[in-house]
Symmetry: D2
Subunit: 254 residues, 4 copies
């Protein structure tokens, strides 16, 4: 049974998605009609309710991908297509101490926090206060606020932590901070950055070569979705052509 206060995703037959929180006594309203939360609280995940307009809404527990794609401000987020690979490359695992700069909407911190768990820690740096507020709200909604230590601080002021397992860098000029990243990481610690332009990739590569980083990799990915029609299987007409170039490296001593 769905409980009061539970975070749920309502999905229509046409694929519209709404993430909300169950509030006993209140009503959920969209252009597809309204539905009382009371009604939802008599159901389980996987069930559907009908709205006042007769539309079916399936009740799902939102996944991390759904949380990301349903964020109101989607600018400056790391997309699931990139995020999954970054988490693997950074080898984020329970107990790890990791850094996420800048926090943006909190998407990367969320994904990391969920994995490192209570024995680990995510340190998130952000210089813009409005971003911090937004990220805090998101992390609270996602239930990981206690696993993330948010710092209102510009990376140029340095990093407080040492012996960090993995460092994720998503700032406009990442090449300026490669030395700070190196100092914060432990030996063999993993680094990842995302940048949108080839010029930025070139700058980061230059900075990495001046530091003691090895195993420098640059990669981009193209995700292509197909219309799920068995008799006419084909890609959708259009796709995302570009989000970011991903850059990876590992800290070594020389």
């Amino acid at each position: 049974m769905i409980k009061d206060g539970e975070r749920i995703l309502l999905m229509s037959e046409d694929g519209d998605e709404f993430i909300t929180v169950v509030k006993d006594g209140e009503k959920f309203v969209t252009h597809l009609g309204g539905v009382e939360f009371e009604k939802i609280m008599k159901l389980d995940f996987g069930d559907f309710v009908e709205t006042s307009k007769g539309e079916r809404l399936y009740i799902l527990k939102p996944t991390i991908v759904e949380e990301i794609l349903n964020l109101k401000r989607k600018t400056q987020i790391v997309y699931p297509k990139d995020l999954g690979y970054i988490l693997l490359k950074l080898d984020v695992k329970p107990g790890d101490r990791v850094i996420d700069v800048g926090i943006g909407s909190g998407v990367v911190s969320f994904a990391m926090a969920r994995i490192v768990g209570e024995k680990g820690k995510v340190y998130a740096y952000e210089k813009r206060e409005d971003f911090i507020e937004r990220a805090k709200e998101n992390l609270r909604n996602w239930g990981v606020i206690d696993l993330v230590e948010i710092k209102h601080k510009d990376l140029s002021e340095g990093v407080d932590e040492k012996e960090i397992d993995a460092f994720f860098l998503d700032v406009p000029k990442p090449w300026l901070y490669i030395d700070k990243v190196w100092e914060a990481l432990k030996g063999g610690g993993r680094f990842a950055a995302v940048v949108p332009t080839t010029n930025q990739v070139q700058e980061v590569l230059n900075a990495l070569k001046d530091s003691h980083f090895k195993k420098i990799e640059v990669v981009e990915n193209l995700f292509r979705f197909y219309k799920p029609v068995p008799q006419r299987l084909r890609p959708y007409d259009r796709m995302v052509a570009h989000t970011a170039y991903m850059i990876f490296a590992v800290k070594v001593y020389q």
Copy 2:
């Protein structure tokens, strides 16, 4: 300091990689020369040793990506480029109970186990005994053997578990088992399958439409690596064109 029994990755300046286990008193030998483990045990991760032939080997802790790519038998593995996204789509998180069929080299079970942790469980089905032996050895090496319950069983005999959070299916004819997947999943539970051919995608889509699955998605991704040379930034000449189509869905009630 690197300890006796520790699993390490040795990486040469040219990018050769060797995963091995530190054995005090013994020696590690490759075409790049030999090195005593004793020497390694005086160093830390990120340091390098020199082999008898004067080659530098950096000592790293192998990441999950490196473990996968350094497997001796690379056939029938799920590649990191797909795996990262699958884990996000399946929303694998601490405490989840998930199913992985067939286990193959154990790559997916490893990735899942590490995240679900001790409060969760991975149930892995496999009908081929030789695969089970290989997967067990890998999972032992990767330190997650206790988090995975391996079952020597064909999926056609049914699934023992109920109320499963996520189901990953990587078998030659996945469309034959869509009903078993549905039964094992809890309401709102997530499904993922990988298949190499378009014909198989068509079959799976047909089977999913006959079942109560929603939010059916088919996607493939193209990863393109760049030569990390800042003055001549360009993709490598060749790339992997195809590993598998990924198919996702969610169980609902009707």
Copy 3:
């Protein structure tokens, strides 16, 4: 000097494009303002005119790519990204006798006609009269109407020509006509088809294997455009993910 009756393309600073024909005494009007053709007739290609709203319009001779992309009805056209490769694969050259079925907007017939020239011939089959009318108008505008023999005929009724150099097939069920294609082609003659779905590719491949065709190839291409900004070089956010699968083969005797 631009002449009366000349076909021109007017391009704004923002990249808006308009293809029109110079009509002395008349006026060209768009949302960017109006301009008298008289004014244009005092200029040369590469010059610009200013509209009544002060907008610059550069005067260009439309290329085949611009003609295609500025067609009003863009459905059922072969896109330049595919067309260029098809012409090469079919080895269309001066003097060739080639077939184009169905003619659609006439884009492929145009491209072929321009190359085969007066010593060659394009035979275009089309069963829909409205398509024929549209194609005729386009081919007249493009100045190649005399090089194309249009036949109002369904391919199932057979092909009148023999010893054809190259055959282009763009119909909903191309697999039904593979034997007609084989009969029309000369030995070593080249075949190309485009189909949007994987199911259709499978059908065509089956039909080709039943016929005496060799060197069967299936290919798709992904064109990715970049923002032409030197300091921030990166792909555009979105791209065309799919137009058609191209299938090629050569007729042999057995």
Copy 4:
């Protein structure tokens, strides 16, 4: 009937291809066995001969794509996947006067010459004498030597022609010659260049913006071939990830 002196392509059942010239009285020998040209001269295109080892060789007339892909030195060629689109974008048509720099193997000059025909002309610049010799031999083999005027000259010395319809530039530092290109082109004339690295794209874009060029486009394409097996349709495992970035522009007056 295949004639003495005819240029033919012999293709084995396994897809091996050999381009050769029929020499009456002589023999064609490969690892698949030998075959007398006399035997071939009794056959037609599309027929097959059997070699001394019992291997079938189909006799085909080589297409431009086959000529390119069967060149011995494949470095520094423009690949068919790019060439087809470039020809369309440059709007090469009968009667055009076009420039190709540097000539390399002669592939682009070949493709252009065949289309512009006797009423047009291809001017090909090349500073390396060894390239000129190779290109001449190729163009002679391809039957278009009389349509191409080859100049042993560095572009920095300037271009002799004026009012050129289209200019193709494939040199290591194309940005150095953008002003020469502009001078040679007629108003509205089309420009295309290919460069392998992002840095070169950036340089060319800078140079184009300093000149009077408009409609600047940068594009790359990814060609993906499929295994032509109807019951297991899927892309080949590996593909070409990169050949070159294509840059296009049009000359205007300001």
